[in-house]
Each structure stands twice: as C-alpha cells, then as structure tokens.
Symmetry: C3
Subunit: 155 residues, 3 copies
Amino acid sequence: MIFKTPTQYFLVSGASDGYMPLNAFDGALLQAGIGNTNLVKMSSIVPPHCQLISPITLPLGALVPVAYASMTSDEPGQIISAGVALAFPVDEDRNGLIMEYSAKGERREIEEKVRTMATEGMKLRGWEIKDLKSITIEYRVKKIGAVLAAVVLWG
Amino acid sequence: MIFKTPTQYFLVSGASDGYMPLNAFDGALLQAGIGNTNLVKMSSIVPPHCQLISPITLPLGALVPVAYASMTSDEPGQIISAGVALAFPVDEDRNGLIMEYSAKGERREIEEKVRTMATEGMKLRGWEIKDLKSITIEYRVKKIGAVLAAVVLWG
Amino acid sequence: MIFKTPTQYFLVSGASDGYMPLNAFDGALLQAGIGNTNLVKMSSIVPPHCQLISPITLPLGALVPVAYASMTSDEPGQIISAGVALAFPVDEDRNGLIMEYSAKGERREIEEKVRTMATEGMKLRGWEIKDLKSITIEYRVKKIGAVLAAVVLWG
C-alpha cells in the first residue's frame, strides 16, 4: 500500500463570504475547523471499522484525506447548500459509502438528495443499510460566498 | 519523500447509469472493480520499473493513487467515451507517461486521440517510444450515465 | 497521521503550447521541472517551519503534494496568466497560507490579485504578515496553451 488506511473520521461543515471565491472557500474551511491543513480530495469510502470521532484539531499543515461537497457563488442573496451523506452496511466488515452534493437551494432539499444518493449507492452494491448519517449546511451569499460539508479521514 | 513511489499498476474501465451523476460515476467505479476504495487523483506518470499486473482486489477503503479519464452525461441516448493511454520509453530507467481523454463520441475516436496525446507527450520529452498501451470504454447513456478509464498505481 | 507532513517547499512555473489542452499542461509541467512526477493536488497550506529550498530534481514518478494555479486556452493570441502567493505569519509556529489564481490577462494583474488573496486570507485568520512571496507566469497562446504556477511540498 502506498498510503495508510484511515481508522477514524469526523464530519464538519462551514460557510463564509470572502474577497474572491477561493477566499470564501478558505473561510468556509476555517469555520469548519480544517482551514489550516492540506486537504487531499478523495472519492469516497469509509473503511470498515473506521471510528466516528468528534472533530479534532488537526496538526497545522498536515496532509489530510477528505471527501467533501462545496460550492461558491457570486450572486448576492443566493442560497447555496452543501451536504455529505454516509451510508453504512449491516455487515461491518464492509465499507461505508460517502456521497457529496451541492447546489443552489435550501438545506433541507440538498440533505434529502444527498441521503438518497447514499441510499442508492448501497442499493447498487446490494448491501443492506444499517445507518445513514449526513451533515448539510446552507448559506445566503452576501457578495462572494462558499459552503462546505466534509468527511475528514484520520487515524 | 512524503509518499512511497508505486511499484505496480493496472488498467481498468467501467460504465454505468445512476440516480445522479455521482451515482453513475460510483457505478462505473464499481464495474471497474475500484468502487470501494478512496481514489486520490494524480497526474500522470508511471514510475520507472513499475510492473503491469492484472487487476487485483484492493483493500476496502484503502487510499489509492489513480490517473483517470471520466465523463458523465444526462442526455439519454448519447454515446460517451473515456480512455487512458500509457507510453513507455526505450530507456527503461525513464518513466512512462499517462494521458487521459473523455468526450462525447465513439470509443475508436477517443482511443485514437488519447494514444496520439501520449505519443505527443513522449515527443515533447524527446524520448523514443518502446510501447504504447491504452484502455478505452464507450457507453450509451440511458438517463444519467458515466464512463471511466483508469490507471491504478499500487505496490 | 495518514501522510507525513512536508518539511520543505519550492516554487516553480511553466508555460507551453501542446497538441491538446492536457499536452499543453504537460508541457508547462515539464518547463516547470515537475513534468515527470505524479502531482497530488492539495489545498493549500505551508506547514510551520517548512523550509524554502531551490527547486530540486524530483524522483521520476514520485507522488508529490502540490498546490497550483493553472489555465489552458485554445484561443490563439490570448494572454493567460497563473500565479500562487504565499503569506507567512509573524508567529513562526503558525502555518503559511497559499492562494492560487489564474485568468485571462497579464501577469502583473494576476500577481496583484493573488497577493491580495493571500493577504486577505491572513486577515481572516487575524494573523500579522511577516512575509509575502509569489510566483506568476504569463503566456501568449499559439494554438492551445497552458500556464502553471506551483508550490511543491517535499521533505
């Protein structure tokens, strides 16, 4: 194996305005508590027996594997939302599945969609679902805004 | 070095419809046999002396470096294709080069294009080509479809 | 920790035309001296006490974490630019911040923008800036061109 397999995970979300879209995204990361790390985006599995923990303070500048949904918008007043959903199988020797979704629109709508996506992903595997978690955030853009919902892998 | 350098690689492809574009992509990954891993996208080199192996079952949830082409479409009936090409130099102490390409259109067309891209990449290096491999997949979208062709690095 | 935290970094830039956008990007990477490695994109922090070094020759095919701005264009004659800016805090136990920006337009304009982005990022953290570095590149597209400015992390 090139990389170690994660053994812990936690869920965070954040939203922010900023000078430019990347600044808004940076602000959303800071609000989520992961703004001073190096995020490496990956798709999108919770390894078997990976433990849910409360969000921790990550070492500054650490390289951190993360699955996330995000969106930026420069339309003042627009509502944007981002969510991730995690579906876990009854068979605990199998992995969980992470789905990400972001769009214009309210939190409730995006949360429902991303949870259905995770449910559909487990159906496709033919695996019965034991547990379905999600975290979603909604934000009304002031000038240039960003939302972020993330699963951070650690261990 | 932050990460270990891969010593093995293999080629896979897949295609699927799904509830949402990300579900279709997930289905394509599952069909390719890499749907239960955490893919870390990278650009796009085969290290020197890296060995081609047959596709293996990766540990569930493992972080896996991968170079891939993919595409999703929500136009029923549309044909979409994705391909990767790998060009290897005569001098085996040098690295191979991976090129990725995806587009609307048939497999043969995309395969020719991506192979030419890899050939051009070796020309740019001034390296004579010993071997050129590729894997390409074509898919006719039902409702929301995805194609994927990938080089998985391992070792 | 899944990955080791980088201890060194260096700045590079490059530009090139190419047969396809990905070939132009490959050419820009080659000109920057990082074209024969496997870049893993990350967002976008310089760990505390990470040392600036002169660009080094990386092992062929190594997996390398990198923060970069890039852009491709197929409009002959168009000027495209990419830049990264790094802001470092007075408190050296804190991390530096990397911002990336690319757009149509001249180098000077893009450099000013990306430096302001990094300055704003430090303001958002409430951290006083000790040092601000940047690297920016401008390129006039012949047929299909790409620009790249990057912070390579190593250690």
